[in-house]
Subunit: 356 residues, 2 copies
DNA sequence: ATGAAAGCGCTAACAC
DNA sequence: GTGTTAGCGCTTTCAT
């Protein structure tokens, strides 16, 4: 099969095809098509536009990015698509990115540090300059490597001590824990249990710290015994890890000698699991036991009883973090060490009962 | 600031740096690093490996892809991150892609056709070869353009008549509607209403068709009056479009003269919204009215009463579709027109009551 | 088993 | 305002 001039199966056309048809040089085409406001006469612009259509030209970003060393994409890595908290975050980022003319591309690490590293390596190899991540890795080496290759990193969650080379964007977890716990106390509860996923993440231990703070303020007794920690952490193929943690751990809690009047779950998905399991056991919420969560995901207002929780403005957080990210990407100077902390807010619904 | 030989801030090193340090040619480095099983002596391999580490080399995929015209990435475009059905689908795809050595990159069109087109254009410009999409666009032009540029497309949902250039992967929606409706009928229901989002999508009208089929089989009366269709379709910034559709439409339904004993919702999120609203109005499910959904998302087993629904094996569907996709990407011959249809399965829980 | 060199599609000096 | 040309980092003939 010989190739002839008027090839029926058109090979993907390039800038030179356009130039040939338009009767100009490739430089002019480049300038007309993406050369900022470089002067190109209206006449040639028209010719080029026409040529673009006749040859069916689609720019090849690969060539452009190779040349300019700039990939206007922001990579987002989250631990799971199952937790609505991250979904809201993505929404926020996405919305802001769109207005700023950036493309976002999202990935799930499936709570797997190895997979996370692989993902980051991929991004690096594609010369993506911006990375926004809720990391599940104990080590920050992947991230620092990303930065030493000229990238910008924004972390939402991290196990390691915050590097001052990252943009840190998080909700104030200490305050969240404190707010939730104070609400329970103000409703007359004293025997309160905490149910949590492993404390490896800094955000988790911060939450607990906030809880302790509140208990201390009121001189309530509170020991490590009162905290039940999930022994495992992974992503199910199909199902909701955190929801199941709630279901499993509340059973363990109920088997204990010590009796509690309220449970604080470190996130809403866990709280929903708890309530779900309690219902199965015919234990009424909040009459028999109160439950409070943290996050305020859509599900929380959908279940019965509607969950009292602490709202994390993740949509806002995403928006603001994205703005910071883009700033860091365009500025050549290092705008590092930025910290963004968003204040949580109590949302009272139906899962906590006044005790006395 | 002059650049000196032993530059402190290392510029990103390339294959030529590696070659220089290893004392070989760039061709050899390329072959050693990614040249399949092209013969390179063990000795030089070692030298190159060493050089890679000393210069801190990270391959630039942009260069590679530009040269090879092959981008081993699969782009996924879904209407929303809020609907767990798609999340399950992504999980399935992701898992399979990982085993096949492909990277997936996901995007949300936010139920916006314009945005969807933009996304597709982006993918095209990045010369991504594989696109798996649940399209919300009325027109297939973006998709056909993608294909005419050498890409492969797999559709999960589409408004247009199926092109035989696509890989079509869907659950059998006609059968789903039929199964759900038959269950209602077998439980003694005759006055059944359907609540649905706009029928613009083919999958929606297929579901309805299936419902009609079931009604016909039993010679039950069923008219367009019994179908309530949401007048709008868009993605909220923050919230669950379909859930709210359920809430809004069930109120409208209840205001009608005709009284129904059962409601069929075309997806679970809608069904959950319906149940939620019914509860607020102190109407008991299933005692006062039965509700059945379609999809079997995790939420369905979490609410009270647990939702009776039709399970769509979206995880499986994702896996199989991904396999097909990759096959199509490696095969130069066109493996088009493949259709994959997965059979749904009734899941009986607590939201449907036997009438007589 | 290795190297030299052409070129993928694009941009950005530098000329005119 | 427009054209010429030298690469960006990589692969891949074609030699040797």
């Amino acid at each position: 099969m010989e190739e002839n001039e008027s090839n029926v199966k058109r090979e993907k056309s390039t800038i030179v095809d356009v130039a040939r048809v338009a009767g100009t040089s490739v430089a002019t085409v480049s300038r007309a098509l993406s050369g900022g406001n470089y002067p190109v006469s209206m006449a040639t612009r028209k010719k080029i536009q026409l040529a673009v259509e006749t040859v069916g030209y689609t720019p090849n970003l690969l060539g452009k990015m190779l040349k300019t060393k700039f990939n206007p994409t922001i990579g987002i890595v989250i631990p799971s698509y199952q937790n609505p908290f991250y979904i809201q975050l993505i929404h926020g980022i996405s919305q802001k990115a769109a207005t700023l003319g950036y493309t976002i591309s999202t990935f799930s690490s499936q709570r797997n540090a190895l997979m996370e590293r692989n993902l980051i390596k991929q991004l690096l190899q594609k010369r993506i300059m911006g990375l926004m991540i809720a990391s599940v890795d104990d080590s920050a080496t992947s991230l620092t490597q990303f930065i030493s290759n000229g990238g910008r990193v924004c972390v939402f969650e991290s196990n390691f001590k915050d590097q001052n080379t990252f943009i840190v964007a998080k909700t104030d977890m200490i305050e969240s824990g404190r707010v939730a716990m104070k609400h329970l106390i103000s409703m007359g509860h004293e025997n309160i249990a905490i149910i949590t996923t492993p404390l490896s993440k800094q955000s988790r231990s911060s939450t607990i710290k906030g809880c302790r703070l509140a208990m201390d303020e009121y001189h309530h007794e509170f020991t490590d015994e009162d905290i039940i920690i999930a022994p495992y952490e992974y992503e199910f193929e199909d199902g909701l890890y955190e929801f199941e943690v709630g279901q499993d751990l509340v059973r363990i809690l109920l088997d204990r000698k010590k009796k509690y009047t309220a449970i604080l779950a470190v996130n809403d998905l866990i709280a929903c699991g708890i309530i779900n399991e309690l219902k199965k056991m015919n234990i009424r919420v909040p009459e028999d036991i109160s439950v409070i969560g943290l996050d305020d995901i859509p599900l929380s207002s959908m279940i019965t009883p509607a969950l009292t929780t602490v709202h994390m403005p993740s949509y806002n957080l995403g928006q603001k973090a994205c703005q910071l990210m883009v700033d860091a990407m365009v500025n050549q100077e290092e705008t590092y060490g930025v910290a963004l902390s968003i204040r949580p807010e109590l949302v009272i619904r139906d899962s906590v009962m006044r005790l006395k």
